[in-house]
């Protein structure tokens, strides 16, 4: 659907790498261009007309985000450069003082590097313990398995809403309820879910949540950190400088601003924020429920059709999102991606930055096709047709 809005689709490509980044519709591109051609100015200055325009548009996006994730307060929304910065800010601005030695953080082996490495680094620095929740036979998180590993020392559960290799959707509402009952903080990496599934941070009892705009039609280099007000207010800024202070004197007397400005030091990625705002409006118009429904339809179609391909192994046929990971027997994933590139089909090869999921799915390298609402069944047919020509691979890639 809406293919006419995506200039990139006029380039004769089949883009199946939406898990890495999505294409950008014209309204998003135009929002960025408008900022650079019609009202370039810094935000939060307001001394002249265009500066006021920027200021109000910038803050309107905060409201858009607040409604989009159903947060209760606008000052719970902080702009960051993406999911990675959001999670790192939580870990090194809050968890580093909140957690004590031997406190336990639960994650899984199918998390992205950005929801593993900050915790492992904190474990090195502070002696916290990172534990992996065992996954079931479909590599999914279940409430039973979480309950099995919770101890009196468990202080945090940090999970992706949707994982980027297996593509499973975590039952975050139930996990949030469990966290509430057990007085555990719940951190959610929404990078893979934000443009695909509705989320309600209050209903899911989410303590902190991070996402990137570029995986939901928006520009790169911009994202969001959401934090429950009482928690976010205790988060120490990682960066200090302009825009985040109320005043400072040479005596060292100083005061920082309230949320959210306190956590947005320096000139922000204004063009990015405005583009992200437009992306949210665009997604709302289509409706995340419709997007999810369509992606699941594409995934089911792809699984059925790909089964016709000789020597194929699909690793996540059951997961309920638009991500499908596969290999062709005896063909290295990167070679397969290079082969598909010959047909202008863009897929990702490798371990997808989830370097320990191999311990779960027993393979370290795969090809990943990740769909979005502008993909079509015809494009999946083209993928299947290309894969059926697999015996020609070395004539093509060498």
């Amino acid at each position: 659907m809406n293919r006419e809005d995506f200039s990139m689709l006029e380039n004769n490509i089949i883009y199946f790498d939406n898990g890495a980044t999505t294409l950008k519709p014209k309204p998003v591109v135009n929002a960025v261009i408008d900022y650079y051609t019609k009202y370039t100015a810094n935000a939060h200055r307001g001394d002249y007309n265009i500066s006021q325009i920027v200021d109000s548009k910038y803050e309107e996006v905060r409201d858009e985000v607040k409604d989009f994730i159903k947060a209760s307060r606008r000052d719970e929304i902080v702009f960051t450069k993406g999911t990675t910065e959001s999670i790192n800010t939580v870990v090194f601005g809050f968890m580093n003082t909140y957690l004590q030695e031997k406190d336990e953080v639960l994650i899984t082996k199918s998390e992205h590097a950005s929801n593993i490495l900050p915790w492992l680094e904190l474990a090195k620095r502070k002696g916290i313990v990172v534990k992996f929740i065992p996954l079931n036979e479909n590599h999914e998180v279940t409430i039973d398995n979480i309950e099995k590993v919770i101890t009196s020392k468990t202080k945090v559960i940090s999970l992706a809403h949707v994982t980027n290799v297996v593509g499973d959707i975590r039952p975050i509402e139930e996990i949030g309820k469990l966290c509430k009952d057990k007085n555990i903080l719940f951190v959610v990496d929404a990078a893979q879910s934000i443009g695909h599934l509705p989320i309600d941070v209050v209903k899911c009892n989410i303590s902190f949540l991070g996402f990137s705009a570029h995986k939901m039609l928006g520009p790169t280099g911009i994202g969001v950190l959401y934090g429950k007000y009482e928690l976010l207010n205790k988060l120490s800024p990682i960066e200090y400088g302009g825009g985040m202070n109320s005043y400072f004197e040479s005596s060292g007397e100083l005061e920082y601003k309230d949320l959210p400005e306190r956590l947005e030091a320096g000139t922000q990625n204004i063009a990015g924020v405005l583009g992200m705002g437009e992306a949210i409006k665009y997604l709302k118009k289509i409706g995340l429920d419709n997007i999810h429904k369509y992606e699941v339809e594409l995934k089911k179609y792809a699984v059925t059709r790909l089964k016709e391909v000789p020597n194929i192994k699909i690793y996540n046929a059951n997961s309920n999102s638009g991500i499908i990971v596969f290999n062709i027997n005896k063909i290295f994933s990167q070679d397969l991606a290079a082969f598909l590139n010959h047909f202008n089909i863009c897929v990702r090869a490798g371990n997808h930055c989830a370097k320990i999921v191999k311990e779960e799915i027993n393979v370290s390298n795969t090809c990943r096709a990740s769909f979005y609402f502008y993909n079509t069944k015809e494009e999946i047919d083209a993928l299947v047709d290309a894969l059926k020509k697999q015996d020609k691979i070395f004539d093509i890639i060498l």
Partner: protein, 144 residues
């Protein structure tokens, strides 16, 4: 070199690579090298005697270009001194990067990768085995 011949040499070295499989024998220097785009992951081990490579072996997960390049490199370097090897690496890198003239005779079969720069993403694959050998040479010089 004819494109079909090049392809056949690459494919043969990919499907039947030289010295795949590591050994527990003594006297080897072993290194691990990974492609920074996080796909290839290869162990290379080499045994030197009086500054000459008398054995080189490898194992790991790698694509067709990287695996075949490792195989051809092993065939080329066994019997060569460190100084000869360094000269080969230098010429190979010049070829891969299309920088300047290089010595085709010195490279021999390694010339099958002379057009790999047309696929920039594969340049790293073609140079990966030489990264391992450079590390091994550095370690060999260190222990001298």
């Amino acid at each position: 070199m004819d494109e079909k011949l090049k392809r056949d040499i690459i494919l043969d070295n990919y499907q039947n690579p030289m010295n795949r499989g590591l050994t527990d024998s003594n006297g080897y220097i072993k290194v691990n090298t990974r492609n920074s785009s996080c796909v290839d992951n290869v162990d290379v081990m080499a045994k030197l005697k009086d500054g000459v490579f008398i054995d080189i072996r490898f194992d790991g997960e790698a694509c067709a270009i990287s695996t075949s390049a490792t195989s051809i490199m092993i065939k080329t370097l066994i019997g060569k001194t460190i100084a000869e090897t360094e000269k080969i690496i230098d010429n190979y890198e010049k070829m891969i990067n299309e920088e300047e003239e290089y010595d085709k005779d010195l490279l021999g079969e390694l010339c099958v990768y002379d057009t790999v720069s047309k696929q920039p993403s594969r340049k790293k694959c073609a140079t990966l085995p030489f990264e391992s050998i450079k590390k091994i040479i550095a370690l060999a010089k260190d222990t001298k």
